[in-house]
C-alpha cells in the first residue's frame, strides 16, 4: 500500500521535474558558476565582500548605473554590508541632493543623509540613454533578480569580455561578450585589474571585483536574504517536528477504526 503511494508520488515528481526543468532553466551558454557564500539554505553574505562590492559600485558602476531603490541607511542595516553608523553618515555626506522648498519657497542643495535614496548619476532615464550612446544603463537595485541565471549571470557578463571572432563586425560602442544575448553589449569592459584600491587591502583583480560587485548586487536585490534563510530553517524544523507529532496522533486516532490509514 505504501509502495503504491510512493510510486504515485514518484510519477508526479518525475512529471513535475521534466515539466519545470526545460522551461525555467534552459540556458544555452553555460554560465560561470561560482560557489557563492549566499547560496544554499544556510547561505550568508560575506560582509567584507559586500563592503568591497559597495566600493566597486560607487567608484565604477555608479558613474552610469543608478540604484534608486536603495537608501544609504541600508548600508548600515543588519544582513547587509553593515557599515557603522558613522561610516554610513560619512558615505551619505559625499553626495548632494536637491531638497525643498524651504521657507522661502525655493529648492536648495544639501548633503545627503542616511535616509536619502542613492543619488542617481543622471537626472532621468532619457538623460542616461542619451549620455550612453542610445543604450540604457539599467538600474541595478534588483538587477540580479531581473536576469535569468541571477548572480552567476552578472558575474559571467563581467568576466565574459573577449576579442570578437574574426568574422564578426562590431559597430562603434558595441563590444563582444559571450554571455550576452546576441553576444553583443553596449557597455565597455568596466573592470580591469587594479581599477580600485580596496580599503581593506585585498588585491583588486578583475575576478575579485566581479565577485564583490555581484555579491553586493545580490544583497541589494534581496536585502533580507539572511533573515529569510534563518527564519526558513527554523520554520521548516518546527514544521517537521509538528508533522511527526501529528502523524503519531493520527496513527493513534485511526487505530480505533483501522490499523491502516
Amino acid at each position: 500500500m505504501y509502495l503504491f503511494k510512493l510510486r504515485y508520488a514518484l510519477y508526479i515528481f518525475i512529471l513535475i521535474t521534466i515539466y519545470f526543468n526545460p522551461v525555467y532553466s534552459a540556458e544555452k551558454i553555460e554560465l560561470l558558476k561560482q560557489n557563492w557564500s549566499f547560496k544554499g539554505i544556510t547561505g550568508k553574505f560575506d560582509r567584507a565582500s559586500l563592503q568591497r562590492g559597495y566600493q566597486v559600485y560607487t567608484e565604477v558602476c555608479a558613474s552610469c548605473h543608478s540604484m534608486r531603490l536603495l537608501s544609504y541607511r541600508n548600508l548600515g542595516e543588519k544582513g547587509g554590508p553593515e557599515f557603522s553608523v558613522d561610516q554610513v553618515k560619512a558615505i551619505a555626506a559625499n553626495f548632494e541632493v536637491e531638497d525643498g522648498p524651504n521657507d522661502q519657497g525655493e529648492m536648495f542643495i544639501r548633503p545627503a543623509r542616511p535616509s536619502d535614496r542613492f543619488v542617481s548619476p543622471y537626472p532621468n532615464k532619457q538623460a542616461s540613454i542619451v549620455a550612453n550612446g542610445g543604450a540604457y544603463p539599467p538600474d541595478m537595485s534588483v538587477l540580479v533578480k531581473a536576469r535569468k541565471g541571477g548572480a552567476d549571470y552578472i558575474y559571467s557578463v563581467l568576466m565574459g569580455y573577449e576579442d570578437p571572432p574574426s568574422n564578426m563586425q562590431l559597430d562603434d560602442g558595441v563590444y563582444y561578450n559571450k554571455f550576452m544575448e546576441g553576444k553583443k553589449i553596449k557597455m565597455s569592459n568596466p573592470l580591469s585589474d587594479g581599477l580600485v584600491e580596496y580599503a581593506d587591502g585585498t588585491s583588486a583583480t578583475q575576478e575579485q571585483m566581479a565577485k564583490d560587485i555581484t555579491t553586493f548586487l545580490t544583497w541589494s536585490a534581496e536585502p533580507h536574504l539572511e533573515t529569510r534563510h534563518k527564519t526558513g530553517l527554523r520554520v521548516i524544523i518546527f514544521l517537521i517536528i509538528l508533522s511527526i507529532l501529528v502523524y503519531f496522533s493520527m496513527k493513534r486516532i485511526w487505530s480505533r477504526i483501522d490499523p491502516e490509514v
Binding site: M1, L15, F20, Y24, I41, H224, L242, V246, W254
Partner: protein, 419 residues
C-alpha cells in the same frame, strides 16, 4: 442539514440554536460521516481552503502597502520587500501561494477525474468547482499584473487583446477593458479592484461547493455509494481533521521550501524589470499554471479560432458529467478509461511544456496534436468509452466484502490494482 436532530445541552444553547442553528451546523460538520477509505488525494480539499484563506489574509496586508498606480506600483512592491516589517515574507507567501494554490487545485481536479467524483449525484459540486477554477485563473492573472513589471504589462496586453478577436465589437470591448487605448493606469487600477473582489466571490462559491458536497457526501476511491453513517464511514472529526492536518503540514513544508529558499523560481525574471510599453520581451509567457491553455490558444493560426478553442477548452469541462455517462465512477474499475486518464494527464503536461516554448516547428506540432487530443478526449473518447467499456465488477461496500468473500477480493482496496 444534519441527518440526525441535534439538541444543545445548555438552555441558552437551545434558545440560540432554535433561532440560528449554528450549533446544529457545527454538530453536522463534526459528525459528518466520511468514507473511511479516503486516500491522501482527498486531503487537497482542506489544503485548498487553507490556500484560499492564506491568499486572502496575505493579500489584505499587501493591499495596505501596495499602490495601484502605473508610476508607483513597481516601487511600492519593492517598498514592501525592503521596508515593511516582514513584507518580504508576506509577499513571497502571496506570490508562491498562487502557484501552490494551482498545484493543489490541479491535483484536486485530476483526483476527481480519476475517481469519477464529478458524476451523479455530484454534478453541481463539479460545476461549482470549475467556476472556482476559472475565477482562480482570472484572479491569478490580474494579480500577476499588479507588480507592473515587464511580464505583468505584456501578459496583460496579450490576454486582453484576445477579446479583440470577437467579430464587430471586439475592438470596443478591448478599449472598454483597458479603460483607454492601451494597457495603462486605468487597466491597472481596475485589475487591482477586481483582484481584491474575486477571492471573495471564490470564497462564496467554496461555501456552496462544500454545501453541495455535504448533500450526497464524499465520493471514495472505490466509487460506490455507501450507507451513511455506517461501518464504512467515520465521523469527520477527529478522523478526517487529523489526517487533513497531517497532509496540510507536509504541503506547508514544501510551500515553505519555495518561500524561504527559492522564492523567485516560479516567477519570471523579467517581472523585476519595470513595465516598459516600448520594449517587448523576447518571449511573453504566462505563469506556469496557465501554460496548457496558452498552448491551446497559440495552436490555431487564426486568432479568433484560438480564442474560441481557449474558451471551449474550459467550458467543455462544465459538461463533463454528461459527456462521461459511465455508471461506474472510479477508474479503479474502468480498465480502459484508466489508460485514457493517464493519456490526458500527459497531454496536459505536454501542452504546458510547449506553452512555455516558442510557437514554432516541433513545438507547434506538439501543441496542435495535444489540443486535438484534449478535445477528442472529452468529446469522443469519453462518450464512446462510457458506452462500450466493460468495467470490472464492483464490490458491495467498502468493508463488508472482505468478510463475505467477493469474487474479486483484490478490488476491495483501490491500491491493490497497481501493486
Amino acid at each position: 442539514m444534519s441527518e440526525h436532530t441535534y439538541t444543545p445541552s445548555s438552555k441558552f444553547g437551545k434558545w440560540f440554536n432554535d433561532r440560528l442553528p449554528l450549533l446544529t451546523l457545527s454538530d453536522h460538520l463534526i459528525n459528518y460521516p466520511t468514507p473511511k477509505n479516503l486516500n491522501y488525494w482527498w486531503t487537497f480539499g482542506g489544503i485548498l481552503t487553507f490556500c484560499l484563506v492564506t491568499q486572502i489574509v496575505t493579500g489584505l496586508v499587501l493591499a495596505m502597502h501596495y499602490v495601484a498606480h502605473a508610476d508607483l506600483a513597481f516601487d511600492s512592491i519593492e517598498h514592501i520587500m525592503r521596508n515593511v516589517n516582514y513584507g518580504w515574507l508576506i509577499r513571497y507567501i502571496h506570490a508562491n501561494g498562487a502557484s501552490m494554490f494551482f498545484l493543489a487545485v490541479y491535483i484536486h481536479i485530476f483526483r476527481s477525474l480519476f475517481y469519477g467524483s464529478y458524476k451523479s449525484p455530484r454534478e453541481i459540486i463539479w460545476i461549482l468547482g470549475m467556476l472556482i477554477y476559472i475565477l482562480m485563473m482570472a484572479t491569478a492573472f490580474m494579480g500577476y499584473v499588479l507588480p507592473w513589471g515587464q511580464m505583468s504589462f505584456w501578459g496583460a496586453t496579450v490576454i486582453t487583446n484576445l477579446f479583440s478577436a470577437i467579430p464587430l465589437v471586439g475592438e470596443s470591448i478591448v478599449t472598454w477593458l483597458w479603460g483607454g487605448y492601451s494597457v495603462d493606469n486605468p487597466t491597472l487600477t481596475r485589475f487591482f479592484s477586481l483582484h481584491y473582489l474575486f477571492p471573495f466571490i471564490i470564497l462564496g462559491l467554496v461555501v456552496l461547493h462544500i454545501w453541495a458536497l455535504h448533500v450526497p457526501g464524499n465520493n471514495n476511491p472505490v466509487g460506490i455509494d455507501i450507507k451513511k453513517p455506517s461501518k464504512d464511514t467515520v465521523p469527520f472529526h477527529p478522523y478526517i481533521t487529523i489526517k487533513d492536518l497531517f497532509a496540510l503540514l507536509i504541503f506547508i513544508i514544501i510551500f515553505s521550501g519555495f518561500i524561504f529558499f527559492s522564492p523567485n523560481i516560479l516567477g519570471h525574471p523579467d517581472n523585476y524589470i519595470p513595465a516598459n510599453p516600448l520594449v517587448t520581451p523576447t518571449h511573453i509567457v504566462p505563469e506556469w499554471y496557465l501554460l496548457p491553455f496558452y498552448a491551446i490558444l497559440r495552436s490555431v493560426p487564426d486568432k479568433l479560432g484560438g480564442v474560441v478553442l481557449l474558451f471551449a477548452s474550459l467550458l467543455i469541462l462544465l459538461a463533463l458529467p454528461w459527456l462521461d455517462s459511465s455508471k461506474v465512477r472510479s477508474a479503479v474499475f474502468r480498465p480502459v478509461y484508466r489508460i485514457f486518464f493517464w493519456v490526458l494527464m500527459i497531454d496536459v503536461f505536454a501542452l504546458g511544456y510547449v506553452g512555455a516554448m516558442p510557437a514554432e516547428g516541433l513545438y507547434l506540432l506538439i501543441a496542435r496534436v495535444g489540443t486535438a487530443y484534449y478535445f477528442l478526449h472529452f468529446l469522443v473518447v469519453l462518450p464512446f468509452l462510457s458506452r462500450i467499456e466493460k468495467t470490472d465488477p464492483l464490490p458491495l461496500s467498502i468493508s463488508e466484502p472482505v468478510f463475505t468473500g467477493m469474487p474479486k477480493p483484490e478490488l476491495m482496496r483501490s491500491d491493490n490494482r497497481f501493486k
